[in-house]
């Protein structure tokens, strides 16, 4: 917190949020400004806190499961994936292979939708109104496909401990193949419309530079660390689920500026499409749910730590249990929360307009920061 404005009256304190168009929710940033220059930016959290971790400690594993999608409205399936994998590891549950493939396919589809949401929101922050409707055009198709199998569009409760609740059908497979083909035509269009635009390039190139060292010091993850030239992706460095069976690349850029983060996300859409394509090809037959699902998912006393790659970075679940179906302690490490910690150092001494660009390039999802 900034205690007092400068007594010499050279600086002023500007309160950005909790209601501000560029904070995408109830994030509050206290800015100490010298004219248009930001001297210090201090995020203030807690406006949307819902005690998700405490709820996890009073509800059973299955009872808490509905909460995970409420944390990250952009990429809810990654959060669900991490949770079910953690519970399954804790209680030694084997999942049918087909279920695991379906989980990966839907999660990657959700990642594409999440990145499309980000492009629109980022450009809205930069003052371009139109691209969000173009990216939502595509996101709509992805959400329709997900709705067809999961029954929900944003807060999915599709995965179960032991599998997934619905099998995917021909309609989903055909639709997804069409979507992949469409996206491959649309990505060059986005590059042509957005990445090459001179005003856009002037606004993001060399702005908000996070170098290798700074990225490692703050422990940022996801597209942000990959934009700083470090190929750190949980899907590769600590493979989980069926990811080792897929052939995909980790896009990295060395510049560390907003443009690098933009390019990383654009490339990640392509890589996710590759994973979905391979997943649909390799999809094995069989059940999508283990045969005898226990009503109460019990395990012996112990703890587990599960990391997955969510759309915004590394997501970790720590579950400790004393032998009941309710975790004794639950700790969630959510990517946006950790990524936000870098804001103060990156934005000191830059312009207010650049602060908005940097915050946009971080892809913050506030309910996941305040969870």
């Amino acid at each position: 917190m900034i205690p007092h404005p400068d007594p010499t009256q050279e600086t002023l304190v500007l309160n950005m949020g909790p209601q501000h168009p560029s904070t995408h929710g109830v994030l509050r940033v206290l800015l100490k400004m010298d004219g248009e220059y930001v001297i210090e930016a201090e995020p203030v959290l807690g406006y949307g806190h819902r005690m998700h971790e405490k709820m996890g400690e009073v509800r059973s594993h299955n009872g808490f499961y509905a909460n995970v999608g409420r944390m990250d409205y952009g990429g809810a399936l990654s959060f669900a994936h991490g949770h079910v994998l953690a519970v399954e590891r804790l209680s030694d549950i084997q999942v049918p292979e087909r279920a695991e493939y379906i989980r990966v396919i839907t999660t990657e589809l959700n990642r594409v939708a999440s990145h499309l949401l980000w492009i629109g929101a980022f450009l809205l922050d930069l003052g371009a109104f139109t691209p969000i409707l173009y990216s939502f055009d595509d996101r709509e198709i992805a959400l329709d496909l997900l709705e067809h199998v999961t029954g929900a569009r944003i807060t999915f409760s599709y995965f179960r401990v032991g599998g997934v609740c619905n099998d995917i059908d021909e309609q989903f497979i055909e639709g997804t193949k069409k979507f992949i083909k469409r996206m491959r035509e649309r990505i060059p269009m986005f590059h042509k419309l957005v990445t090459g635009n001179i005003i856009f390039r002037k606004r993001v190139e060399g702005i908000g530079i996070i170098d290798r060292d700074m990225a490692l010091r703050y422990g940022v993850t996801g597209p942000m660390i990959r934009g700083s030239g470090i190929p750190y992706d949980i899907r590769k460095v600590e493979p989980y689920s069926v990811y080792p069976e897929f052939d995909f690349d980790i896009p990295t850029y060395d510049e560390g500026d907003c443009m690098a983060r933009h390019k990383v996300r654009m490339d990640e859409i392509e890589q996710s499409l590759r994973i979905i394509e391979q997943g649909l090809e390799k999809l094995p037959d069989g059940p999508v749910m283990m045969e005898k699902v226990p009503k109460k998912v019990k395990s012996g006393p112990g703890d587990t730590f599960m990391s997955v790659e969510a759309a915004r970075g590394e997501l970790c679940y720590y579950l400790a249990t004393d032998g009941t179906d309710t975790p004794y302690r639950m700790k969630i490490r959510s990517p946006s929360y950790s990524n936000l910690s870098i804001l103060k150092e990156v934005t000191s001494g830059i312009l207010l307009s650049d602060l908005v660009a940097v915050m946009g390039s971080m892809d913050l999802v506030i309910p996941e920061i305040d969870r």
């Binding site: 500007l14 501000h20 168009p21 635009n197 207010l352």
Partner: protein
């Protein structure tokens, strides 16, 4: 009745028509902008109220009028109320000297251009007052930006207009249009450069995206009009569209030959000819406004310091060089 009285009545009647036109223009332009931006964004735009959503603006106007006028506690009440009026009235008055056709012009002042420019400059005063009196930091930021931006961009704007005035040899807008005749000023290379610079500065002067620094929604919430609710905001909105029309009309008169067709001289003073002239004039002006709308919904916002750099380092040198070349060409032509 004396001649002077008749003339006064004619002037008053025409003035009334122009004021009514300014209101109608804003209403139609809001609809055009929303419809166009809708189609640019691959959605239909307003389509519920009336045919093609034509009455959407009227309904919105009624909604705005029905809203409570909220004055912030710390605001300077008098200035806070004056600012929207100051933003809306001057451009309407300036429209009085615009020659929509040979005779549809309220008053052809000898210093018409100067009159328009001095009234157009009031816009920045309105924004400054609004930003200052709101007692809101975001508003103040918007006001500070607006002043810096408008002061900077008025320089190339004036230089471009001087180029046109030099070429046509008059400050009266009617004479400027007549001097161009069939060969518009834009047909000369120096005229084209002047028009281009004028168009860019005109967009900056009317605070339209990508130069909408004083508003800058994603940075300053709504900038200078953050605290305005209801019709206060509505008047700023009307003022913006009237300013757009003024800028486009000025460009039409100075660079695009006003009510003249290219290469063909329209002769005669009949009613039909006059109507045709008004149509030609408005077609040019609205064509430019549509280009401005198109640009707004296509590009991201430039950053403030980039905007100033662009003005001081590119636009001002270019416009000054252009002025020098025009002077040289004119002098060489005399020899």
């Amino acid at each position: 009745m004396s001649d002077a009285l008749i003339q006064l009545i004619i002037i008053l009647a025409l003035a009334l028509v122009v004021v009514a036109y300014a209101f109608g223009n804003s209403a139609i332009l809001v609809w055009v902008e929303r419809k166009l931006c809708g189609h640019i964004q691959r959605r239909p735009g307003p389509c519920e109220v009336g045919p093609f959503g034509l009455f959407q603006t009227a309904i919105d106007g009624i909604k705005l009028m029905g809203k409570q006028i909220i004055i912030p506690r710390n605001a300077d009440k008098r200035l806070f109320m004056v600012a929207p009026v100051l933003s809306f009235v001057p451009p309407i008055i300036a429209l009085m000297v615009i020659p929509f056709s040979k005779h549809v012009q309220v008053r052809d002042l000898d210093i018409g251009l100067l009159f328009v420019l001095s009234l157009a400059a009031m816009n920045v005063l309105a924004i400054l007052i609004a930003g200052w009196s709101s007692a809101n930091k975001y508003s103040l930021f918007g006001a500070v930006r607006a002043v810096a931006q408008n002061v900077a961009y008025e320089i190339p704007l004036l230089i471009c207009l001087i180029t046109a005035v030099m070429w046509t040899g008059s400050l009266s807008l009617g004479d400027i249009v007549n001097a161009q005749g069939g060969t518009w000023f834009i047909f000369y290379p120096w005229g084209f450069v002047a028009f281009l610079v004028y168009f860019i500065t005109g967009m900056a002067e009317t605070n339209r995206a990508p130069f909408d620094m004083p508003e800058a929604e994603s940075e300053l919430t709504a900038g200078f009009h953050t605290e305005y609710a209801g019709m206060g905001f509505g008047l700023f909105f009307l003022g913006e569209y009237t300013n757009m029309l003024l800028m486009a009309s000025l460009a039409t008169a100075l660079f695009l030959g006003g009510y003249n067709l290219p290469f063909i001289e329209l002769t005669g003073d009949g009613v039909m000819t006059e109507l045709l002239r008004v149509f030609i004039f408005l077609a040019k002006a609205y064509g430019m406004i549509i280009v401005m709308i198109w640009i707004r919904w296509t590009f991201p916002r430039v950053r403030f310091d980039q905007l100033m750099n662009f003005c001081w380092k590119i636009l001002i040198p270019v416009s000054m060089a252009n002025l020098a070349i025009t002077a040289l060409v004119m002098k060489l032509g005399e020899l």
